[in-house]
């Protein structure tokens, strides 16, 4: 038996040749080649909704022969934001990370441009709304892809019985299931009168005045309805304007009829307010109604989600999109892009909407009339107007149109609600405005 030995010279030559081959060979790892992909998804509130994401990813991974790992990250206590901050600092982490509204701009330097994904998607699914463009694009470059899971409108969720009884408003008639809204008289004036009537009847509207997003989003929509901007699109501070003054006057009247401890409310407080049966309206996506369905069915069957009241400058509704971003330091960017295309297909989007019981909202104009919203109940049709199927509202985010990096600070420091609260608690208008102006000037740091 002969034994072939490898000489030192042969070993060195073989090693050098194989190394050269590995380095010089074209690195082909298209979406159609095997590889690994790690994803950080938002951990959905709705039980079972994560399963839809897992199934869709698995479907894609099986087809593309990619090994995928998914982490579901809760947004409780800003875990997603912390994850994004840590990964951006470490330049390492997931290939795809789902991030809340303001984060694509916050980490624009670390995100892979996704124009090659977004442009075909827009052609396929229809135009995206202005807020998605504002938050997802920078100088014509798409920073991230709008994610259906978690994206939401925080419009009014009214109690049918209480609004009819105390405010004389039939919300079902105003927003009939299956047909366009008859909302011409649904203005901020009508809204305020209804708030006053419900407060007198002991069932005040549950609108927070705290520092968390629900409070800020409502304030944002109301300010925009008056055309009030603290910082304009060019980045100029525009606090001392008539529009801001009008918005503050309106808010002062509204605050007078809100619960006494609204200044301390967090994002769970309004849900609890509705479910406990103590209020006639809150501003929230249908999660409060979904919990009521389980915990207080008698409350749930009286809930109706509908459009925002209009102000002098239009009808604005708070829209909070989530995004899927691909880190520029990610290891499998092509595969990541391919998966995002798969997750944004009309079939996948409908699956997300069905799995979340209608909570998740696609950002695309052609996708606001899925069956789920028409059929969910009780009462049947309660979510029909949730995705704004007749495009009656401008979907917006508080603090826009200020440049996003400034707006993010106005948003998270809750400058709008704080200014309104200061004025409502007796501070002079000029003092409250001067305070807000000082804050905004501080946000100009680069």
């Amino acid at each position: 038996m002969s034994r072939k030995t490898l000489t030192r010279r042969q070993f060195v030559a073989a090693t050098a040749m194989s190394s050269t081959a590995l380095i010089a060979a074209p690195y082909v790892r298209g979406a159609y080649a095997a590889g690994k992909l790690s994803i950080g998804f938002w951990d959905h509130w709705v039980p079972g909704a994560n399963d839809a994401s897992t199934a869709l990813v698995k479907e894609w991974a099986d087809k593309e022969k990619v090994e995928v790992s998914i982490d579901y990250i809760t947004s409780n206590n800003k875990k997603i934001e912390l994850t994004a901050a840590a990964e951006a600092q470490a330049k390492s982490g997931h290939d795809i990370l789902q991030m809340p509204s303001w984060w694509p701009h916050a980490y624009s330097e670390n995100l892979e441009p996704l124009n090659d994904v977004m442009e075909p998607l827009i052609k396929q699914n229809g135009e995206v709304n202005g807020t998605v463009k504002y938050l997802g694009q920078l100088d014509g470059k798409w920073l991230a892809v709008p994610a259906t899971p978690g994206s939401q409108i925080k419009g009014p969720c009214s109690r049918i019985d209480l609004m009819k009884k105390h405010a004389g408003i039939d919300v079902q008639e105003m927003y009939p299931a299956g047909s366009p809204p008859k909302d011409d008289n649904w203005t901020l004036e009508t809204f305020l009168k209804a708030a006053e009537a419900c407060q007198k009847a002991g069932v005040p509207f549950g609108i927070g005045l705290g520092e968390t997003t629900d409070s800020v989003d409502t304030a944002g929509a109301i300010f925009q309805s008056f055309g009030a901007e603290l910082v304009n699109a060019k980045g100029d501070v525009t606090v001392k304007t008539d529009a801001v003054r009008q918005a503050l006057e309106f808010y002062k009247k509204l605050i007078a009829v809100l619960p006494a401890d609204a200044p301390s409310w967090d994002d769970a407080s309004n849900n609890k307010w509705l479910i406990s049966g103590r209020g006639a309206m809150i501003m929230n996506p249908p999660s409060a109604w979904a919990v009521a369905k389980r915990d207080a069915p008698q409350v749930a069957e009286q809930c109706w989600t509908h459009g925002f009241p209009s102000g002098p400058k239009g009808r604005f509704a708070p829209f909070l999109p989530y995004f899927w971003g691909v880190w520029s330091f990610g290891k499998n960017k092509e595969a990541a892009k391919s998966l995002l295309v798969h997750l944004s297909s009309p079939a996948a989007i409908e699956k997300f909407v069905v799995a979340s019981g209608g909570y998740d909202l696609p950002a695309y104009a052609n996708m606001t009339k899925f069956k789920t919203w028409a059929e969910e109940g009780p009462p049947k049709g309660t979510l029909f107007h949730y995705p704004d199927p007749y495009h009656r509202q401008t979907l917006s985010i508080a603090a826009s149109p200020a440049p996003p990096k400034i707006a993010q600070q106005i948003y998270f420091q809750a400058t709008l609600t704080k200014m309104a609260l200061r004025f409502a608690q007796g501070e002079k208008m000029d003092t409250a405005l001067a305070w807000a102006e000082g804050e905004c000037e501080g946000f100009m740091r680069t």
């Binding site: 901050a85 409310w265 804050e439």
Partner: protein, 312 residues
Amino acid sequence: MADVVIEQGGVARTARPRKARSLRNMLGRKSTVAFFLTLPLILLIGLLVLYPAFYSLYLATLNKAMTKFVGLGNFTFLFKRETFWMVVKQSCIFAITAVIFKALIGFIVAHFVHNIPGKKQRKWRGMLLVPWVIPPAMSTLAWLWLFDPSYSAFNYTLSFFGVGPIPWLGETFWARFSVILVNVWYGAPFFLIMYLAALKSVPDQLYEAASIDGANWWQKMWYVTLPMMRNIIAITTLFSLIVTFANFDIVRILTSGGPLDTTHLFATWAFQVGIQSSDIPLGACVSLFMVPILAVAAIFILRDVNKRGNEA
């Protein structure tokens, strides 16, 4: 030449055992053993405490986009912010008030527990430690429900006496009261256990001698108990001051800093500025501002402890 070679070899031959011996001696020294035993901890502290500390110092010197060195620019910016000075004031109010009440309650309860006879004392000690043992994030969530606007157990109970409803977390006074209350509830057992240990170490003969001299209860407390507990009181106060100043979870869960920022502490505001508003350098500055305040407190308190140690 040969002599030299031989001499060199000889030198080499004698140096080796001496070197080995000195290495053995060094390794045999208690201090060296102690150093190697503590090395894992030193490395851990270096990795988890020193590195982040220096990294945050570095972060604090960058601009918002973290692309440029700005020196102390972030600090000078902070000093001009009204909210920053409000946070400084509030952190002091929160920490000092909470520590005083924790110390007072701990001191009083430690005396009660100290006077409970043997077996029963263990049960009480165990029960009184419960608030300190539960993770604060969890217990604070329970407090949040007690203060909750819709389901508040406190307001429900008060309603039977015709009182309330009190906006526990909605008004500045009550919100500050509530966060301090929860911190005192959580932290008082630490003082209790430390003071109890100190009380047990006071020799009975001192009290007997004081009784023979005709000292009353108050005089025994003032001239015997307190002087014997002074060092423990100082150290406990310092530890608690540091932890209370750096508190995050209680305020974050109960009020998120509201209403109108009037319950923000350094840590919660740093989180809001650094993480939520994506201004990590400014957030690092806010959290670093605790260091000089705590360093001054530590110097005063520890200097006093050293002085007494020398006197002893």
